[in-house]
């Protein structure tokens, strides 16, 4: 099983040179730590920044410079600041090429739910609905099952959804999977020590397994 950092590390391999990327709150934020130095990419923060840098040192903390998770941040060289309207113009207009975000549930046709549990919890959708309706490539970072063992990769989402037919790839603590255009989770890689059978048993939606499924490897 992968821990959160390993999920982030695996997702980082999907990043391509020259991309503009939006990272959601939580595990997606950790992806930044694993993007290879030789790739030139730009991280977008939907509250109005292109070019998120590392967290600041104590003496550089600035309340006027935060990311979408309200964490204090720094800017890289060549960054630009703008309004929320401009920020979502970028997102909606398809200029941000890759969105990485968390999910409570994903369905086998690529629907995603991540903003509300009726009667129990409402975080609000924030920018997620705009992001999933707009970006060409959407990768989800999530746990394969809930704490009580229920699969979160479903035939249909049970929670109010955030967007339809939008998720392209999923990296969980157990596996890497593509969402097929015709529906279904195509298993691509297994977490170290996790069997295809275990993934099958923990995936409620249709799982497509073709040939040998390699185990992920991590350089230390």
């Amino acid at each position: 099983m992968l821990n959160k950092d390993q999920i982030a590390q695996r997702i980082a391999k999907e990043v391509k040179n020259g991309q503009y990327i939006n990272l959601g709150i939580g595990i997606p934020t950790l992806v930044a730590n694993y993007i290879p130095d030789d790739l030139e990419v730009v991280l977008q923060s939907e509250n109005g920044l292109l070019g998120i840098g590392p967290f600041p040192t104590e003496d550089k903390v600035d309340p006027d410079l935060i990311n979408a998770g309200k964490q204090t941040i720094t800017m890289t060289k060549g960054s630009a600041l703008f309004s929320s309207a401009e920020s979502f113009a970028m997102i909606r207009g398809g200029h941000v090429q890759l969105t990485i975000l968390g999910a409570m549930e994903v369905s086998e046709n690529g629907d995603i739910a991540n903003w509300k549990i009726p009667g129990k919890m409402v975080k609000g959708m924030g920018g997620a609905m705009d992001l999933v309706a707009s970006a060409d490539n959407i990768i989800v970072a999530m746990q394969h099952c809930s704490k009580d063992g229920q699969s979160k990769l479903l035939k249909e989402c049970s929670l109010p959804i955030t967007g339809i037919r939008c998720v392209k790839k999923i990296v969980t603590d157990l596996a890497v999977l593509d969402v097929l255009p015709e529906g279904g989770f195509k298993l691509l890689e297994r977490a170290p020590g996790v069997s295809v059978e275990e993934i099958q048993s923990k995936t409620e939606g249709k799982l497509v397994v073709e040939g040998e499924i390699p185990e992920m490897t991590f350089e230390v």
């Binding site: 923060s45 939907e46 509250n47 109005g48 920044l49 590392p54 967290f55 600041p56 040192t57 104590e58 903390v61 600035d62 309340p63 006027d64 410079l65 935060i66 990311n67 998770g69 309200k70 964490q71 204090t72 941040i73 600041l81 703008f82 309004s83 929320s84 309207a85 920020s87 979502f88 113009a89 997102i91 909606r92 629907d111 009667g119 129990k120 919890m121 409402v122 975080k123 609000g124 959708m125 924030g126 920018g127 997620a128 609905m129 705009d130 309706a133 707009s134 109010p160 959804i161 955030t162 967007g163 339809i164």
Partner: protein, 231 residues
């Protein structure tokens, strides 16, 4: 140039009335009109509709207006960090309209820009789409969304001049420029108020035409929600 200066927050908010629709700039606690909110808390107001991306935290920003039960309805994109907000929402004490953040930004921009409605892909197939017109353009589905306007818009800038021109700093810009344009009366508070002519016309983020009142703010707390530092 037309002089928009007022003495202080109390004078700026003097005619805000119960049942009014208010907009507040800011994202999280960054770029929020702290002085105006404090002045509003001193007034006997109720049944306000507040449009703001977030609602502050429990004990700061709009969170304090929720505590004082001044707010009938919140229009926001994110409840997240505010337990009292989430509680009032789940209990039904507070009417809440949750809107995708980009749709919120664009609806406010449309209000200022005289665009009564526009199509956006955000929310198609979700409960946000309920009751809204859906239309296909070039093979993709979009929702029709309406403009948002306010009786009063409260914004916070870094620098401003007496003509109402504003310059924001860092990510404290966020919703402030669009809200400045969408208020019938826009009240700007600034960290540094300078005479007209001192700001470079090429570096102004919000032109003074959108601002009806401006004042020099004071005692900014600028709280940080998630202080995160590198080791």
């Amino acid at each position: 140039m037309i002089n928009k200066t007022v003495k202080n927050a109390d004078e700026a908010v003097k005619d805000v009335f119960s049942n009014a629709v208010l907009m507040f700039g800011g994202f999280g606690l960054s770029g929020i009109p702290e002085n105006s909110i404090k002045a509003l808390l001193e007034k006997d107001l109720k049944d306000l509709t507040c449009i703001s991306n977030n609602a502050g935290v429990d004990d700061f920003g709009i969170g304090l207006m929720l505590q004082k039960r001044m707010v009938k309805k919140m229009i926001s994109s994110y409840v997240g960090e505010n337990a009292e907000f989430e509680r009032q929402l789940l209990s039904g004490e507070l009417e809440v309209e949750l809107i995708p953040q980009g749709t919120l930004a664009e609806r406010v921009r449309a209000g200022g820009a005289g665009i009564p409605a526009f199509f956006t892909p955000a929310g198609v197939g979700t409960e946000v789409a309920e009751g809204k017109e859906i239309r296909e353009f070039d093979g993709k589905l979009y929702l029709l969304e309406r403009w948002l306007k306010a009786d009063f818009a409260f914004v916070k800038a870094w620098k401003g001049d007496t003509a109402g021109n504003l310059v924001f700093k860092g990510t404290a810009r966020n919703f402030n420029p669009m809200m400045a344009a969408a208020g019938k009366i826009t009240i700007a508070e600034v960290e540094e108020l300078v005479p007209a002519g001192e700001l470079n016309p090429n570096e102004i983020h919000t032109p003074g035409i959108y601002v009806q009142r401006i004042f020099q703010g004071k005692d900014y707390e600028k709280r940080i929600e998630q202080r995160t530092v590198r080791k």
